[in-house]
Symmetry: C2
Subunit: 192 residues, 2 copies
Amino acid sequence: MTAVSRPRRSDATRAAILRAARERFAADGYDRATIRAIAADARIDPSMVMRYYGSKEGLFAAAAEFDLRLPALAAVPAEQLGEVLVRHFLDRWEGDETLAALIRTASTNPGAAERMRGIFAEQIGAAVVRLGTDPATAARRAGLITSQILGLAFTRYIVRLPPMAEAAPEELVAWVAPTIQRYLTGPVPASA
Amino acid sequence: MTAVSRPRRSDATRAAILRAARERFAADGYDRATIRAIAADARIDPSMVMRYYGSKEGLFAAAAEFDLRLPALAAVPAEQLGEVLVRHFLDRWEGDETLAALIRTASTNPGAAERMRGIFAEQIGAAVVRLGTDPATAARRAGLITSQILGLAFTRYIVRLPPMAEAAPEELVAWVAPTIQRYLTGPVPASA
DNA sequence: ACTGTAGGCCAACAAGCGTTGACATCAACT
DNA sequence: AGTTGATGTCAACGCTTGTTGGCCTACAGT
């Protein structure tokens, strides 16, 4: 409720902790990423982590702040939406380990799973709705898109299945874009 | 190299341990599933787990023995392959928690990730090759199929994204089957 | 120059972990 | 009946974990 707090002297430390935490959570998952290891990476004492983030869960919450940074889809020609989306996600994740941290942690940590539900339901769901999709099927479409996008991330970055981990991004875009395109704009199939 | 060992008196105990282990690993992942908790579920002493399975890793190896049980695809009409595959996986996993255990553990445990690579590369890869697919693209096709199948499993059983977790199996089949069908038998896209 | 406060380190805690070895118990075979 | 080996229990070990509180240091405001 007051003015923006002026920079604290400890901001560098806080940032170092956060950077180390993201790396460790991404590489090891929540349980195996210990506060001691994160503190060692950041070259500070473990107790500083507690002081600044309260607890391990608090640290994770701060480290897993995550924005898909979806581009403005309204400006994209309708038939290129799949391509744009897949390329965006690959670009977005090649350099940022936060998604890997989130996937690894969401696998075993209910809180992180909840956060993941929120991120994808809201951001992808909202984008689908914004495109003018029939609201009755929008949620299902968003879920299907999420399933393929997360499956891509899981096989490429987490399990590192060779054909997926070694493929060139453009090749993956060419294969996967039609899937996303159909989930997004294709007709509802005549289900049983 | 001798005759099949006659039933041991401890077989019931071994089975109880294995059942409890699968449940716990599936529900909690490798790190949070403690030997003590598994032993408590099986109503035996933690030390029995060590006696029969050597270590926690040995127990997991035994619990995560996993066969996709792919049906004979040669008998399936070519244009129904996607449908048959998706329905098979959903059927296979609705009742068996082993896949969830494997996914949860593969997220953080390198050994389990290696096992997962083996299972999908060999079983799905082999099935794709067996269908007479061009060997040059078979691995990529298998990887793409795995990405969608695992993405389905991840969103439905692990993260439990509402639109995916609550959908009727037949509805998912109708949406996802064309994706698998295209990855399996569709033309190689003109990639950049 | 003095003081208050924020930043940082150190040592320790209680709890939980996988794992071990000694001891009891029971079934089977001579 | 007595021996033997498998089956199970109990208590403890060494280690790591998240977390805490006390203490020292250095800077900002007066």
